[in-house]
Symmetry: C2
Subunit: 322 residues, 2 copies
Amino acid sequence: MSRTNLQLVDECDRFPYYQDNPAAYTEHLKNYHFFKVSGCDAILGYIVNDVVSRISWAPSHWTIDSLNRTVTLTTGPDATPQQRSAIVAQTLAHEVQLGTFDILKGWRDELYPVYGPNGEFLLELERSATPLFGIVSYGIHSTCYVEDENGLRIWVPRRSRTKQTYPGMLDNSVAGGMSTTEHPFECLVREAMEEASLPEEIVRANATPAGCVSYIYVRDSQAGGETDLVQPEVEYVFDIKVGADVIPKPCDSEVEEFMLYTVEETKAALANGEFKPNCSVVLLDFFIRHGILTAENEPDYLDILTRVHRRLEFPTASHVTK
Amino acid sequence: MSRTNLQLVDECDRFPYYQDNPAAYTEHLKNYHFFKVSGCDAILGYIVNDVVSRISWAPSHWTIDSLNRTVTLTTGPDATPQQRSAIVAQTLAHEVQLGTFDILKGWRDELYPVYGPNGEFLLELERSATPLFGIVSYGIHSTCYVEDENGLRIWVPRRSRTKQTYPGMLDNSVAGGMSTTEHPFECLVREAMEEASLPEEIVRANATPAGCVSYIYVRDSQAGGETDLVQPEVEYVFDIKVGADVIPKPCDSEVEEFMLYTVEETKAALANGEFKPNCSVVLLDFFIRHGILTAENEPDYLDILTRVHRRLEFPTASHVTK
């Protein structure tokens, strides 16, 4: 029943690795079509074959190559991101109308970006549709903690029991997705207020960027909607060290309550599977950076550390602020 | 002339990735034989073909399969690590006598371990020979720093100009290799005294384990000895935060002097190529964990972070202290 830390990583980083078994990996890839846009060689995402067969791809805009298993958004060489995005939006709108996918019933009205191999912005699409295309999505996750004479304690929120995804599970102190034009720190500031009622000045004074976690999630029933969809993610990680007088409070309807957990309580909840999978790996990364998990007390230390910093095979964004 | 941070990573993590170009990767692997031991399926290291052809492999102990490009240490099913190690030692002693390899002229008389897929200890061999077999080696690297009203400053040693490897280059505050029976913290304590005259009580009071870096180095002329040898490494990373009154001093002949560099001075020396390659990546990891390099000021942030936490395709050790 109790999970090891590596099992927690397995629940988040679920896509196989070539090196572990080249033959099995190559075979596994046959479950997917590669999402591409014309004029760009890179594979932008993995689309489950079943999803490919259920979408009505307008032949004027899409080329489906069953032999090479590619789905290519086909435009003239001078196509703009706006034009590509409009085609995707049209394709999705049609499927929403038909009710093809449960996952699109969680429509968010937020646009998520897709980047090319040189960091160029290619297109954007509705957040809830990103797992259908298997593209990389970006977000921020933070650990708000108190470290004083009572030791290190972490602010742990419980997700609302009415949330579409992972209802009632434990989460990272402040976390959220980055839409197209957003930058990591800006996203952190926005989410800190929306989810935890933490004012901007507290965040600016106490938050430190501390890396990111990256992994390839594969959706299961907890995530809601269709299963087996591929969801590569990059989550920028922040530590927010606060005094015991700073108390996060639920603001919107996303969070039910905040608890101040000791490290032992946090570890127990992790082992018990109470955290949303990608929140577990953010906490494991936090524990490693803070010397709580070490090479000398965690047998899978190296596996954990390399798995939660997975090098994605898709182009990714630079979020440098100009 | 000036290097980007990603170029510094390129100088350390030099082995190609399958995902970047599957065909080129597969072709590149043809430059190597795979090091194996009988009774264990795992590939333990990559041996450059030229090295394979120059070693006199005693047929009673070694099986060379040119078709599958494997070099297998062949023993009975009940072989002990001692027996395997003795065979390797005998093979190496013969080559030392013949003077086959320059790299063995840097004989260290330190034994480095090789582990199997379940963390089992398979054998140990002379440190200077590890790149001939392309096996994973382990070490510790630490950043000793002062953070006060003058900002964050890092203790940077210059390697002795008479050292065999990377003479005169800049290094991490305290760093060194772990021989077979050593554990990370123990290695840190030993090296801190040997290289920086830092007493054990200072290290115990101020050092925090903060992860590890892993990469596949490929030796060039700076490293001394034969070039193109493969050197996968795991370096456990420690931060040692000290007051301005703690001043590391050279002790053995490895270090020439210690300088207290500001972050800007450290960055300039990095860009100028003054650091030993694997020390650069330890500093980049430090900068990321401390919020000095961020997603918003480093265009290659994600590439850097995932490359310096490379998931190695070889079995690795667990260093849990029993």
